[in-house]
């Protein structure tokens, strides 16, 4: 009887973070401009005081020869200040190529490198985009981790970003 009670209890305590999931949708809007370049985008997690917690993705021109594409990473200026400038690039599982117009989905499980040691608490998902000969935009989506129930949050960009969605599954 005791064992039967303990087992589900243990799984309740330990399991949520590992079973939990964080799904991100980042929309790169179609822009009617004479010269279009895909934006550089950084996606990371921070604490409410804007302290950087974990990088989830950075999309930039990583195929250019001699790492030329890294020259403009500083234009993602919040990300550059909070994290980028201290990194040796490219970062496995974080660095990626720039993305085309459309919505791009990323999923991070509770057991992923970025989330598995994340203490319970309040966080924000931050998405920053900067475009060559274009502008820059940054969106924040606050959430609590680990999620107690399925939740959906979103933020709407005005210029360089479309809708950013955040789906949490317990």
């Amino acid at each position: 009887m005791r064992k039967r009670l303990l087992l589900p209890l243990c799984s309740l305590l330990a399991a949520p973070a590992f079973a939990a999931e964080l799904q991100i949708g980042v929309e790169i809007p179609r822009l009617e401009v004479a010269e279009y370049h895909r934006p550089y985008v950084a996606i990371w997690l921070e604490k409410p005081d804007q302290q950087h917690v974990a990088d989830l993705a950075v999309w930039y021109d990583l195929k250019m020869k001699d790492k030329e594409g890294e020259k403009w990473l500083k234009d993602l200026r919040q990300w550059w200040r909070r994290s980028g400038r201290g990194l040796e690039l490219p970062v496995d599982g974080v660095s990626g190529a720039t993305r085309a117009v459309g919505t791009h989905n990323l999923t991070f499980g509770g057991d992923s490198a970025q989330l598995k040691n994340l203490p319970a608490g309040e966080y924000s998902l931050v998405v920053e985009a900067a475009r060559e000969v274009g502008g820059r935009e940054l969106l924040r989506v606050p959430f609590a981790w680990p999620p107690r129930q399925a939740e959906q949050h979103q933020a709407q960009g005005k210029s360089e970003l479309g809708t950013v969605t955040l789906q949490l599954k317990p």
């Binding site: 001699d66 790492k67 030329e68 890294e70 020259k71 403009w72 990473l73 500083k74 200026r77 919040q78 550059w80 200040r81 980028g84 400038r85 201290g86």
Partner: protein, 315 residues
Amino acid sequence: MKPIFKWTALALAACLPLSAHAHRVWMLPSATVLSGEDPWITVDAAVSNNLFYFDHFPLQLEGIGKPQLPPSAPAPQSGPDGKPAAQAGQPGGPGAPGGQPPMRRPPNKLLVLAPDGSEVKPENGNRGRYRSTFDVHLTQKGTYKLAVANSGLMASWKENGQPRRWMGKAEDLDKDVPAKAEDLKVVQTSNRMEVFVTSGKPTDTVLKPTNQGLELVPVTHPNDLVAGEAAEFGFLLDGKPAKDLEITLIPGGNRYRDETGEIKAKTDAQGKVSITWPSAGMYWLEAELSSTEGVAKPVTERRAVYSATLEVLTP
């Protein structure tokens, strides 16, 4: 401007480049925060009233472009401000009867320090009509410092009722200036102008003070300044906290506004000052100190000037 005044002004610009009076002397880097594997910066260096517009004279820097020598004209008696021209050199030179060409100090020495503290040679140096330019190849990751510093003595006295001036090194004072000169004033000067640039993560090696003259000792890193945030700076005079020092910050772009927009602040007893940046952009920081305290004969006054060009980023 009459040619003679032009050359006088140029000689002034060459001799007194870091003085707080008359004109502002500055260096303007193309960027202060850089990413990538092989970044370069280019820097403008000029003497002008407005920030940061090169419209007056280039800052003469040793090894940057060809030095501009004045034509063999009689020594001018006064500068463009109508004040007697401050001139460097030996007795019998400037201001003396006989019309010798103005004596000039060697151009300012630019020192570029890499994050590891080693010296970097500026490249592609050029001196134009209104500005000097040079490039710095940032081959290391971390913070670089560009500094122009000088120090010396400035003497003024009267000879036969005529004002005389001299600028030079302490060891030459006895040789060049009569010891019993009438109304002799000897000012010990030290000037320092700096620019900070960071490739990748900011580092602190180049921020160590030399403990000579007036210096900035950043608490907040000078390449981590953001509009709306406060930055804390410390100031030292010969390595000791410079308390009650007035700091002036002028944002660039004053051609397009009526006010200079300057921010004034004073250091506390520890020589520290906190500045909250109202907006992003390039700022020119200046601090000047004049004191008769603790000066040893023959020096009668101590003057020290520090200036820096700081970039404040948008959050």
